[in-house]
Symmetry: C2
Subunit: 687 residues, 2 copies
């Protein structure tokens, strides 16, 4: 029987947390146990005495403005509360119903088309007799309703909301998640559940990366060949787009479409080779990386095409922003074609960068005519462009700062690339606009926020959830909450809670791992495989690409696709080792937990190795199964030396550290989560 | 560390299975290891020497007839093979491509509208150099392609198909699954993945229960109030219906719609009270069970309405059969209303049954005019009806036999009610037409097959998969394979394999359990809770209804909703106990497995009880957590007495059997899976 050392680890303690350790603003002493599980943390939380009990009589009503969008949000909230508590109160909300326990006072609808400036603030007051939510806009009310759901906590045999007063508004107005649907197509239901998750953690921009070298994913009625020839049949119809836009709006989320140009455009050029810079591709590009095809910036036909295409798209997406990509444009013809060179001389464009700036200016003119603002990746930054474009920085904060200094608005994405497979804490601690950034107050306002990026090389419908969640929730807090909210321990505690909440909303990030392991093993009996897999995680994008040479045709059904980035074992082992090393080594609780941990790992291996003989795909990580028992033994020996105060024999440390280094080497496209803490244990041993 | 006693239990052995134990027909001795994982078992399997290796060069082509439906089926097969093996061969199929390794020879399209008589037979021949699939129809080819996918097995570091020759055709032409979407609505994606699962195990009728007292789930453009007033907004648009019909046809599955009449019709009557037998309901019925509202069989307006409504529906569903329900009709007015009584006298209808028969005759006339055959539950059986109606028997085999004796066609559903929460083996061993049935060969032909029923009182989108699967796969084998295929051990071995295959297709029956447990616990740390839950299963429909008094408004988020019927622990414990009791009790392997099993169960409890203090919903099964350690101790004591040959102290057995009886009593709406084997152990002890 595996009694996990973490059993009860994350359980909220029964002890009253009088003032949540991560709350801000005013706090009032109270005698009520308030377990602050909110993510993102509100700007200000004040606990008060007492609690509000959820009973079958629970009801909600709007006392001022309401519309169908607000009603739907209330209905969804009631539904979630019912599911969470099992209390069968009516799902429907009433308008102006007297005596309701939850009253929602909203001043007005808010903007007809949600802008960057939409007021998202709200106040939420819970007292023993009722709950009151106030907001200037429906979107603000939506944010407050999400907080309300997260406030519900068990109490004895019932569910309650602790009495509390919350004043909340976001730190940044642009809090985005980009999903690349070009390299791998993501079905509509995947996007919908992603939007559900975004709403739960108060993200407000869905950046929809719709075109790539590997696929053109949106139907154009004016240019149908874009999808008939460039999508393998995998694309969003205009009806799908309308549905996603509607679904997002019901959750207070803007949809910013991205049409990559002039590079990353192989899929356009298969359909319309006449738009290419002389040389057009012959088929959809299956390889990843930077292609050397680009739209031709020198022909008027290109702009006529874009005028019509973007005009059509502008009608589908109400958001005032359109993203034109603009990154990684490489076209040898821009340097070799006499025709293009002549054009450049004529227009005094000295190099490819200048030619692309010319292209961007032309596209900007089209977008301006369509009443749209332009967004693009770093590369579009050029003094030739006016100041109302938004730069999405993938190159790093320095690039964002540089833009702000020149007066450009910016959104930071460097630091938030999920395919780096970094632990949540790394993303969490990356601030889009640290106090230390060398910017004036005016320049600081130009930093609109941040965007999380999920590029699509190595994800598809059955794995994307576990790549996006729950890490995205931690980053969402970074974008919403005050800068000083940086307690990593508390973040991981709350991340476990919100992760399960997200699963209840319909995301599959937790269950996809077990499902993948079952498929690999060909049986539902995966007790040991689950333990083994719990200490392995996918390597980052580049390492995978190097090891596997992936293309769009690579089947994403490997062990690396089943396991999750930043599984609990990473943080838990870090914390356990840290506690053991900093405390008296004779503390038997920490020592025994560590021992059991290493014993469990080693014990899982024989059964896993048996399953590997029956599964070629599973056998791809056999090296890891061979390494694990040795690493576990090292851990047990280190704990034994440390807790008994014995010295290790001469040469032990060198040998063990070499073994750990060997385990860091690429194998099976996965890496162990615990080698750093293990090395720390070995290093602490005296020889 | 839990090393499950079942580790490797279900792994196919490395020893060559020369002739699969459950195959039939000709068999050829062979030296190739063929692990027969097929479900359903084909009519005839002959193993041959050698194997076909799956390589990146794998390709498929059609050599005779092909159409888009066949091409889609081949494309889906190639996709599944890629996912299963990770081998990146092209997904597309070629028509008439030379040198393909899989050749598919189909004689023709088959019926334009798939009928009960559609030819589903196929032959599949695998040799070391190629695979050949032959079928008369596209549907036959689909069945063969499913067999092909299931044949793929690991071999060293590769995947292969064993050389084999299969001749296959179904035992029964009507192999259905009914999903009740009336009591709880099931979204379109749930139905689609259900159809995927049905296709994988060769079921061919999706019986769509579309109307109930609790909801009218299909859009009528002629009578829109049916859904605006009778569905809570949860219904299928006509576009959804077209999509489901198309999706099913792409998988060789017929769609038979059911419109319940004249009873179970509350939802109709809210919208159109003028159709009621005098007294109309005021709101959607939330309670389950039999209502006392019914359509009025005595008014011409009723038939005018049905003529138009069924005419509209007939245009949506191409299948030649329409199900009119017809069960459980109770209307007090039929006995009390002077107007209705007068009508009955006038038409010489002596009782309510005769009145309903009159109604059925009138409806039959409408359906006949629409070129549809009528299907109904047992209650429609009446000599007044012509012989081309089909009786779906929920009352039992006797009723089916009675119908056949009178010349009616029948489909058996008694014995296949999934909400009974019976173990797979019970359903598996229920034969729709045992050799012993007292029928002539002509009468036997009238038994068309069987239908599995998933009634909707206690399921919704997040739990339905685990109620339907994998048990439905075992029943599908009953309907397809020869009568003599009845090896329960082998069925459970294969069910584990097919269950994981079904999950790979997108069903969530395995992952829903863990997801539910995580929600209940509010954390992803459920190692112990998972062990505890593994020996508990939902009680049957009636017991749940009695314990919980459920209605449509009951929130289905309890522990009972998370756990699965017939979890592996049931069969495993039965088998382990059986082996231990029949062998020498000193056999240490069985003894140790049993010991470890009981120890693991007991060890899970403390952590689970801690989690219960934090989760009111989880605490609802606290009684089971209190009972489990005692039962485990009893098991350990029994094993100890038996293996040491010691006698138990006087009174021990009585006390222990009483404890076991107490554990059988209702508690927490769940029951233990292992009390029967535990009682067998106790009973085997000598006092």
């Amino acid at each position: 029987m595996k009694i996990s050392p973490w059993a009860g680890f994350f359980l909220p303690t029964a002890i009253a947390i009088l003032v949540p350790s991560t709350s801000f603003g005013q706090t009032t002493p109270s005698s009520v146990a308030f377990v602050n599980n909110l993510m993102p943390q509100p700007a200000s939380v004040s606990a008060a005495p007492g609690r509000f009990l959820l009973t079958p009589q629970f009801s909600a009503s709007t006392t001022a403005f309401h519309n169908s969008r607000l009603d739907a949000a209330i209905g969804e909230t009631m539904h979630q509360l019912r599911q969470k508590t099992g209390v069968s109160f009516a799902e429907q909300s009433a308008s102006g119903g007297p005596g309701s326990q939850l009253t929602i006072a909203v001043q007005g609808a808010g903007e007809e088309i949600q802008s960057v400036d939409e007021d998202e603030s709200y106040t939420l007051s819970v007292t023993p007799t009722g709950i009151r939510l106030e907001a200037a806009t429906v979107v603000g009310a939506m944010r407050g309703l999400q907080t309300l759901v997260q406030l519900v906590q068990p109490s004895g045999s019932e569910y309650e909301l602790p009495a509390v007063s919350i004043r909340d508004s976001p730190r940044f107005p642009w809090r985005g998640l980009m999903i690349d649907c070009g390299r791998h197509f993501e079905p509509v239901d995947v996007l919908k559940r992603t939007l559900d998750g975004m709403a739960a953690v108060k993200l407000n921009v869905f950046h929809w990366h719709l075109t790539e070298d590997q696929g053109f994913r949106i139907e154009s009625k004016l240019f149908p060949k874009l999808t008939t020839m460039g999508s393998d049949g995998l694309f969003y119809t205009q009806q799908d787009v309308a549905e996603i836009v509607r679904y997002a709006r019901e959750r207070g989320i803007r949809v910013v479409p991205e049409f990559e140009m002039p590079g990353h455009s192989t899929a356009w050029l298969i359909a319309y080779p006449e738009l290419a810079s002389d040389r057009a591709p012959e088929s959809i590009r299956r390889e990843f990386g930077v292609s050397d095809f680009a739209l031709d910036p020198t022909r008027e036909e290109t702009y006529e095409f874009l005028q019509r295409f973007l005009g059509e798209m502008a009608g589908l997406f109400p958001d005032p922003y359109v993203h034109i990509g603009g990154d990684e444009t490489v076209s040898p013809e821009w340097k070799t074609s006499p025709r293009i060179q002549a054009f450049m001389r004529e227009h005094q464009l000295k190099d490819s960068e200048a030619l692309q700036a010319y292209f961007n200016q032309r596209v900007l003119k089209i977008l301006t005519g369509l009443h749209k603002h332009m967004v693009g990746w770093d590369e579009i930054l050029n003094p030739a462009l006016p100041k109302d474009v938004v730069i999405q920085s993938w190159r790093g904060e320095a690039s964002l700062v540089k833009g702000a200094e020149q007066g450009y608005q910016g959104v930071l994405s460097a630091g938030y690339y999920l395919d780096g497979m970094n632990p949540a804490k790394d993303y969490y601690l990356a601030d889009p606009l640290p106090s230390s950034a060398p910017l004036t107050p005016e320049q600081r306002k130009l930093v609109l926020g941040g965007e999380i990026c999920m590029f699509g090389e190595h994800v598809y419908a059955r794995t994307i959830d576990s790549r996006v969640w729950p890490r995205t929730a931690a980053i969402a807090e970074r974008f919403w909450s005050p800068e000083k909210v940086t307690d990593v321990d508390d973040m991981y505690r709350r991340l476990d809670v919100v992760s399960v909440q997200l699963e209840a909303l319909g995301l599959h990030h937790l269950s996809q791992e077990d499902a993948g392991l079952r498929e690999l093993a060909g049986t539902e009996h995966i007790d040991e495989l689950r333990v083994f897999a719990s200490v392995l995680e996918p390597v980052g994008f580049h390492e995978r690409y190097d090891q596997q040479k992936t293309s769009q045709l690579t089947v994403l059904d490997r062990f690396v696709d089943a396991v999750r980035p930043d599984p609990p074992s990473r943080y838990e082992m870090e914390r356990l080792t840290h506690d053991f090393l900093k405390g008296p080594k004779t503390d038997t609780a920490d020592r025994d937990s560590l021992r059991r941990w290493f014993e469990d790992m080693a014990a899982s291996v024989p059964a896993v190795e048996r399953q590997m003989t029956q599964s070629p795909l599973l056998a791809e990580v056999e090296v890891r199964a061979q390494q694990l028992p040795g690493l576990a033994t090292t851990g047990l020996e280190a704990v034994s030396f440390l807790s008994s105060g014995t010295k290790a024999p001469v040469g032990w440390k060198v040998r063990k550290l070499a073994e750990i280094e060997a385990a860091r080497k690429p194998a099976g496209i996965v890496r162990f989560t615990f080698v750093d803490p293990l090395a720390a244990l070995v290093n602490a041993v005296q020889e």
